[in-house]
């Protein structure tokens, strides 16, 4: 019943369709094949698929348009990895002695006393 309604609606909208043989064939074949169960499925699935299709199409078009206005993200080439030089694990217990020798100060005079006045007197030094 509803199939006939759709056919009438389409013919009303596009009268030229009546001229096409295949239209009459499809409507003659498809309309009687639409069982109530199939109709129920189509009633819900068609709008759902249409909505999903529109969303996906919109997203795809949006991404493409975005690519036109923003430059592509540049990913730098990875920095060359330099392997650290391997140092021997063993540390000699005599290294602190070597360090102490290197830090030894050979300068003389050291320690140097402060400068003191050893001639404290109320009389002239020449008189002493």
């Amino acid at each position: 019943m509803s199939g006939t309604k759709v056919k009438n609606f389409l013919l009303n909208l596009y009268p030229e369709l009546a001229r096409f043989q295949w239209f009459n064939q499809i409507t003659a074949t498809v309309i009687p094949a639409l069982t109530p169960r199939l109709k129920k499925i189509m009633r819900w699935s068609l709008p759902t698929v249409t909505v999903l299709f529109v969303i996906l199409l919109g997203t795809a078009i949006g991404s493409w348009l975005l690519g036109l206005f923003f430059p592509k993200q540049v990913t730098p080439t990875p920095i060359e990895f330099i392997a650290p030089t391997t140092t021997p694990r063993y540390q000699s217990p005599f290294l602190p002695l070597k360090r102490a020798i290197e830090e030894f100060n050979p300068a003389l005079p050291e320690p140097l006393p402060a400068v003191f006045d050893d001639k404290i007197s109320l009389e002239s030094l020449e008189e002493l």
Partner: protein
């Protein structure tokens, strides 16, 4: 319970006081007396100037008292300086004739200055001050030689300690090299250690002799310091090479 806490607190206090005391009392006393001396000396200079400008009894008394205080702090600073040096020489714990001599001399000189600090408290008149300074100047001249020798002994004590430590290192290393003792490099290394050791010992001995024989009246002090510094530098260089060989043998030829 209270007693228990009291004992704990007392122990903590005594322990921390011990640590503070262990941080060279002599150095701390020397710095304190040096500060006192500088303060007193500035005051003395002013009073002496006043006295020189206007030699009144009042000005003389002020200058005299200030001079006495300055001398006391000076003597105590000197005494502590010698004790600091003596402590530094004894620190490595080396038993060597020059070092023993130096520490004995320094203790004697420090005691002399402590006595002088006490003696200075008796300065009352201008004549007392003059006599004190006169006597002090003659004695101080004899201390110069001991100070020069002690400064060298202080450096030698450190180098001898390095030599003792190097010998201990060598002695602990030799048994570990038993398995590779015929290896040419190991053999050369051990020979080098022996050679360096002999050279260092000879140079230390020569420097110690030179220091003991040093005569301040006949030689130039700054020339002595310069030559001694050069010798110390050479000994340090040899010790550095010696320890480098020991470390090389230990790192590369001993199985760890």
């Amino acid at each position: 319970m209270k007693k228990f806490f009291l004992i704990i607190f007392a122990n903590i206090f005594l322990f921390s006081a011990g640590i503070v005391f262990a941080q060279s009392t002599f150095l701390s006393d020397y710095n304190f007396q040096l500060d006192q001396y500088r303060k007193n000396y500035a005051e003395y200079t002013n009073f002496k100037k006043d006295y020189d400008d206007r030699p009144t009894l009042n000005n003389e008394q002020k200058a005299l008292l200030s001079a006495r205080q300055t001398i006391i702090s000076r003597e105590l600073a000197w005494a502590n300086f010698y004790l600091v040096l003596s402590e530094s020489i004894s620190k490595p714990g080396v038993n060597y004739p020059l070092i023993t001599e130096a520490t004995t001399d320094l203790t004697g000189i420090a005691n002399y200055h402590f006595t002088q600090a006490n003696k200075a408290t008796n300065i009352v008149t201008r004549a007392d001050l003059t006599n004190f300074t006169k006597e002090e100047l003659t004695v101080l001249a004899t201390h110069r030689l001991s100070l020069t020798q002690a400064q060298t002994a202080n450096k030698l004590a450190q180098l001898i300690k390095f030599q003792i430590d190097a010998k201990t290192a060598y002695d602990s290393l030799v048994p570990k090299l038993e398995a590779v003792k015929n290896d040419v490099v190991v053999k050369n290394g051990l020979d080098q250690v022996q050679t360096y050791s002999a050279q260092i010992n000879a140079q230390i001995e020569a420097l110690a002799k030179k220091t003991t024989d040093f005569d301040l009246d006949e030689s130039n002090q700054s020339q002595f310091y310069e030559n001694t510094s050069q010798s110390l530098r050479e000994i340090r260089g040899l010790q550095n090479r010696l320890v480098t060989v020991i470390i090389d043998l230990d790192t590369n030829y001993v199985r760890h």
